[in-house]
């Protein structure tokens, strides 16, 4: 698990210091995209190869809808309450 955190911190350090050559950075989006798609196909393959999981997709989908709905409501309510403490929010309301 810590591999992920270490990877993120290493990336932040490398990015902030600008160690990587320009050509590398120009390709960053494309490299990330390809990596992402390889990973998603692999994730799909794991799900597809798991017969038990396939039969429970309906239940998982329902859970997903409930959790995401509540997460969104929670985030809007808390940010709405906090927003009045943030000075910049007022200045932007000029429409």
């Amino acid at each position: 698990m810590w591999l992920i955190v270490v990877a993120l911190l290493a990336g932040l350090a490398v990015g902030a210091r600008g160690i990587l050559p320009e050509q590398c950075l120009n390709q960053l989006d494309r490299i990330m995209m390809v990596t992402l798609f390889v990973m998603l196909v692999a994730l799909g393959a794991q799900i597809g190869g798991n017969a038990q999981l396939l039969t429970s997709l309906g239940v998982l989908g329902w859970r997903a809808v409930v959790i995401s709905t509540y997460s969104i409501v929670g985030s809007v309510v808390v940010l709405w309450m906090v927003a009045r403490c943030i000075p910049v929010s007022g200045k932007g309301d000029n429409t």
Binding site: L36, A45, V78, W80, V82, V88
Partner: protein, 198 residues
């Protein structure tokens, strides 16, 4: 983008179901771990090199960090509240909520470090969050104000939902949304392992 993501996952599912032998499916786990670490490293590079965002935090002061803090705290509180309707451990609810709409990372991260069932749930929940954000952000502006309207976007306000936010609000809110998405994006790979280790 969302279409291609769905195609990739469905294509992978078809491969796993019909083509790849079960023994090979098990070895996918290690492979995914390696690719995931590489991707998170790249995300770090992308965030780290963004001096514009760092400068805007400095200009607006650290109060700007209240925005991602509020979105993150609200998302986790909401996910925990979903426990009233679902028989799932709070820890699992929080881990799914801590994806903040970043479905690709949260799904794979939870699958590889916890279990595939929760990872799939996280993937679906965060895809749904992003899709709902596209619909909700413009709708919320008149009711909650511009700033609170960006909350459904979570971590996606630095990329996929940013163009929409720019149109639905103003450039200042869009900049705050970008910084907020950046902070939440960096928080996902830290929070999820922490929550699952509870």
């Amino acid at each position: 983008m969302a279409l291609w993501i769905t195609v990739a996952v469905l294509g992978g599912m078809l491969l796993g179901w019909a083509v790849i032998p079960p023994t090979l499916v098990d070895t996918l786990d290690g492979m995914i771990n390696g690719i995931l670490a590489f991707l998170v490293f790249l995300v770090g590079v992308d965030i780290g090199r963004n001096r514009e965002a760092l400068l805007s935090v400095r200009r607006m002061g650290f109060k700007i960090l209240l925005v991602p803090a509020a979105i993150g705290a609200g998302s986790l509180l909401g996910a925990a509240a979903a426990g009233c309707f679902l028989t799932m451990p709070v820890k699992e609810l929080l881990a799914v909520g801590a994806g903040f709409g970043w479905y690709s990372l949260s799904g794979v991260l939870i699958s590889s470090t916890y279990n595939l069932e929760l990872g799939t749930t996280a993937f679906l929940a965060n895809v749904i969050r992003e899709l709902m954000a596209f619909v909700l952000i413009p709708m919320l502006v008149p009711y909650t104000g511009k700033l609170a309207a960006i909350a459904p976007g979570g971590a996606t306000t630095m990329d996929s939902t940013l163009p929409l936010i720019t149109r639905a609000t103003d450039s200042q809110t869009a900049l705050i949304a970008f910084v907020s998405g950046l902070v939440l994006t960096a928080a996902v790979p830290i929070l999820i392992p922490l929550i699952l280790a509870m």
